[in-house]
Amino acid sequence: MGKEECKTMLDALNKVTACYRHLVIALGSTSDSQNLREELKKTRKKAQELAVANRTKLTTLLKDKTLSKEDRAEYERLWVLFSSSMELIEVDMKRSLEIGQDFPLKVPTRHLIQTGMTGSTNAVAARAMSVQNMKYEGDSNIDTADLRDLQTEITQVSQMMEEMEMKVQVAPWAVVAKQEAGAELKSNMSVGNSSVGVISICEEEPKDDEGGGGREGGAASIGAVVVFFVIVTVALVLGYLVVNM
């Protein structure tokens, strides 16, 4: 059904948006490198493809006049999801252009900010591209050429968004969200299966980063339950004995 496809594609776009943001945050810092620029480029391209696909799908769905009210509301909700993703991508692209220009790589003395991040971002990019490992083609002019491309891409994206605004009459403020406050704490929210070559079905995970605080808490609760049952059995036994005496 159209709806399921839509949701899947939106999920993918969402994933790419999140990963792109992580990559842009690493720009200009000590984890910046040739590879990062390439990753950015690839992720961007992927994002654009997904964006175009989503847009065509959603516009065709919304243009359908024979939609029922619930369907229409649902598609409007998906549209708001899509446009918000696009906004984030556009902002991130503009910022990456600016930071990329401020921190060129091919200069004799690099002044990258010592932020404490030294690891590479392969895994993030791989997640975005939905592949196991990233392959790098390593173009030496990645800085300048990439930035020019980036500028054209930004204009493309801006144009696309303007077109969307004009053509599709959706009132974003009228959309009612399905999630209530605190929904992110519940498990398995995802709109649909992000199945476009995904690495693993991600489940909600409660594990904390620093220390096994969660684990300790779990052990304590299990211990308490065990103690409770022990007491109950002892009480039953004693009661039986008393009754029989």
Partner: protein, 657 residues
């Protein structure tokens, strides 16, 4: 489509106060240099080692060396860098200051730098809070919880997206190695501490209003530009000049007088709330406080303007004027202020009220202004606008300033207030107490609520105001009605309701007076009771929502009481103000005619000694005897007539005539 960056961008660039950002970025780049920059060291967490941590003392030393400044200044410069968000502290992350010891800091990644172009989006903040919610399993800090709920309400249409994006970003972050993950969390947290400061922190991001144009940009030389220069120079030539000795003398005097009262230049007792987060100073200086502080009372002696602009001072002055029986001046002045600052809808009404209460012949609280001003004012009132009463207001203001103000400063009221004024002791907080104060900061009452409370209080006071007879000059306008109503302790500056009682009584002149004519002692008692009754029922509705029907009702009631022994009054009732009104319809100001008719009778009514203000001129409308014949005819119209505003009367005259 939601508002995009482009639309909001127009204001973002032009914040010259934030010109420091570009300069700070340059400094920061210099600090990165491996040879000449700041020395970094690795930070050891439990099992991970994260590089690129710098100590506070290193930063300060480097800054002092680079710019050739002393450590104090380097320290404040460093604190500014931290407050802006270029460097963030690793321990005690909420206090954005540089500590000159071995506490650790780290540089912020360029994405999170506070550049002018990229406004801080609420969407991003919502995503961050959702991520934090996941991480902390639902236990957010108080202010974060509040913000979360607020955003959930206002960004509800995007909430699905926010939740989805938060989860995705959370998962994507897990793809990085442990040290990088920790660094990223610290970075993001630091960014939001700068841009959404928790309560108790000072934000360096307050930049004031947005501007549409860049004040530092070069202006194009259009003809309009030159025309503006020409106008400016022409006006400069025409400006009147003052001798520099005079103007500098005035400045010196001002500085000398006010320097002790300026919290920047001298101590603020008990303590400056902005510095110590202790609001005693504000509670001691509220509008309606019983006992003012000594500094406040001292300020009242500086000039009349100071006295009037301080609400507590104005109350004191009002009390003094009440004792002197010249409260109408201040009431008129306040009424004019109310007119000037009020809404346009109520302007016409207010102007009418003020005229009827203060300016008309036979008005209940008639003020004493000279003939010319009165003429101008009344003419202007035909087409009332906001500043129509300006001339009269200025006259009264100067009157009060030159006369009453001087007497006030020597009066027992003021001396009493001065004696009772308190001088609070200075607070001496130590570091721990200061931090506690900062944590306990809470917003005060909303000003809307405070204003409502003030209005309620005023209405309550107006409702049970004691009878206070003002305006008892023998030579002023017809006294009968004056006996009936009282000066309201609180002037009718906000509501029009206190004014209505006056109106209610004006047509009823015969009743209290005629009853009083019987016997002097009985008259006083009657006066008081009728006044009390009349005032009660007329004042019971507060808030100025008296409708015409209500007034008519009270009128009818009073009339009934008054008209019973009607035969008695026919010859006795002194000139009724309505009679005056009939003849004075067209000419609001009549030439003065001294007459001694009324005083004879008035002497019987009022056993109270009255202070006649020296400026009180003899201003009766016309002689008594003329009206005796007109009275029977005019008595029929007693119930329907009231003080008629000249502009209204003209039309009526035309209608009937």
């Amino acid at each position: 489509m939601t508002i995009r960056n482009a639309l909001r961008d127009h204001g973002q660039r032009y914040r010259p106060r934030m010109a420091c950002l570009k300069k700070a970025e340059k400094v920061l780049l210099e600090m990165q240099d491996p040879c000449t920059g700041v020395k970094s060291q690795p930070q050891r967490l439990v099992i991970t080692i994260i590089p690129h941590a710098i100590t506070g003392e290193d930063i300060i030393a480097w800054l002092a060396d680079r710019f050739q400044i002393d450590t104090e200044e380097a320290r404040s410069f460093g604190s500014m860098l931290v407050a802006l968000g270029y460097i963030y502290p690793l321990q005690d992350h909420k206090r954005l200051v540089i500590k000159p010891d071995a506490s650790l800091y780290r540089f912020q990644t360029p994405y999170f730098w506070p550049t002018q172009q990229w406004p801080v989006e609420d969407t991003d903040y919502a995503i961050y809070l959702a991520k934090r919610n996941i991480r902390k399993k639902g236990i957010l800090e108080l202010h974060e919880q509040e913000q979360y709920n607020h955003l959930h309400k206002w960004m509800n249409h995007k909430w699905d997206f926010i939740v989805m994006q938060a989860k995705e970003q959370y998962r994507a972050a897990k793809e990085r190695k442990k040290p990088d993950r920790v660094v990223f969390d610290c970075q993001e947290r630091a960014y939001w501490v700068v841009h959404r400061p928790p309560p108790g922190t000072v934000s360096a991001m307050d930049y004031g209003l947005h501007r549409r144009t860049d004040p530092n940009a070069d202006e194009t030389q259009t003809p309009d530009y030159y025309e503006r220069i020409m106008i400016f120079t022409q006006q400069s030539i025409m400006r009147p000049r003052v001798k520099s000795s005079v103007s500098i003398g005035a400045l010196v005097k001002y500085c000398a007088t006010y320097s002790g009262h300026d919290p920047f230049l001298s101590k603020c007792l008990p303590s400056n709330p902005w510095l110590t987060d202790d609001t005693t100073f504000w509670t001691l200086n509220m509008h309606n406080v019983e006992i003012p502080t000594k500094m406040r009372v001292e300020r009242w002696t500086f000039s009349f303007k100071e006295l009037l602009s301080d609400p507590r001072g104005r109350d004191d002055f009002r009390l003094f004027l009440k004792k002197e029986f010249s409260g109408e001046n201040l009431a008129f002045w306040e009424g004019c202020e109310d007119l000037k600052w009020g809404t346009a809808v109520t302007m016409r009404e207010k102007a009418e009220q003020i005229y009827k209460t203060f300016l008309a012949r036979g008005a209940p609280r008639w003020i004493n202004i000279d003939g010319k001003t009165m003429e101008i004012t009344v003419k202007g009132l035909k087409h009332p606008h906001r500043y129509v009463l300006d001339a009269a207001q200025t006259h009264i203001y100067m009157l009060m300033k030159k006369d009453s103000y001087g007497r006030y400063l020597k009066s027992p009221v003021f001396k009493e207030t001065l004696k009772k004024a308190i001088c609070p002791e200075e607070h001496k907080f130590n570091e721990v107490q200061l931090e506690q104060n900062a944590r306990n900061r809470r917003p005060s009452l909303s000003p809307i609520i405070i204003r409502q409370q003030e209005q309620e209080q005023r209405a309550k006071m107006a409702a049970n105001a004691p009878v206070d007879i003002t305006q008892l000059c023998r030579f002023t306008t017809p006294v009968p009605h004056l006996a009936v109503y009282s000066g309201i302790p609180d002037p009718p500056s906000v509501t029009a309701s206190p004014l209505f009682p006056f109106l209610a009584h004006t047509p009823v002149c015969p009743s209290p007076i005629s009853v009083a004519l019987d016997s002097t002692s009985a008259s006083e008692r009657q006066l008081e009771t009728s006044e009390g009754e009349g005032n009660m029922e007329a004042r019971a509705p507060d808030g100025g929502n008296l409708s015409k029907s209500r007034m008519a009702l009270s009128l009818r009631r009073l009339l009934k009481r008054g008209c019973s022994p009607s035969a008695m009054f026919a010859s006795l009732s002194p000139k009724c103000h309505t009679a005056a009104a009939t003849s004075s319809r067209i000419q609001p100001i009549m030439p003065d005619e001294p007459s001694h008719g009324p005083p004879r009778r008035i002497g019987n009514f009022f056993q109270i000694k009255v202070d006649i203000p020296p400026e009180c001129r003899i201003y009766p409308i016309e002689s008594e005897d003329e009206d005796e014949e007109n009275r029977p005819a005019s008595r029929d119209r007693v119930g329907t007539e009231e003080i008629i505003c000249p502009w209204e009367s003209l039309s009526r005259q035309n209608g009937t005539g």
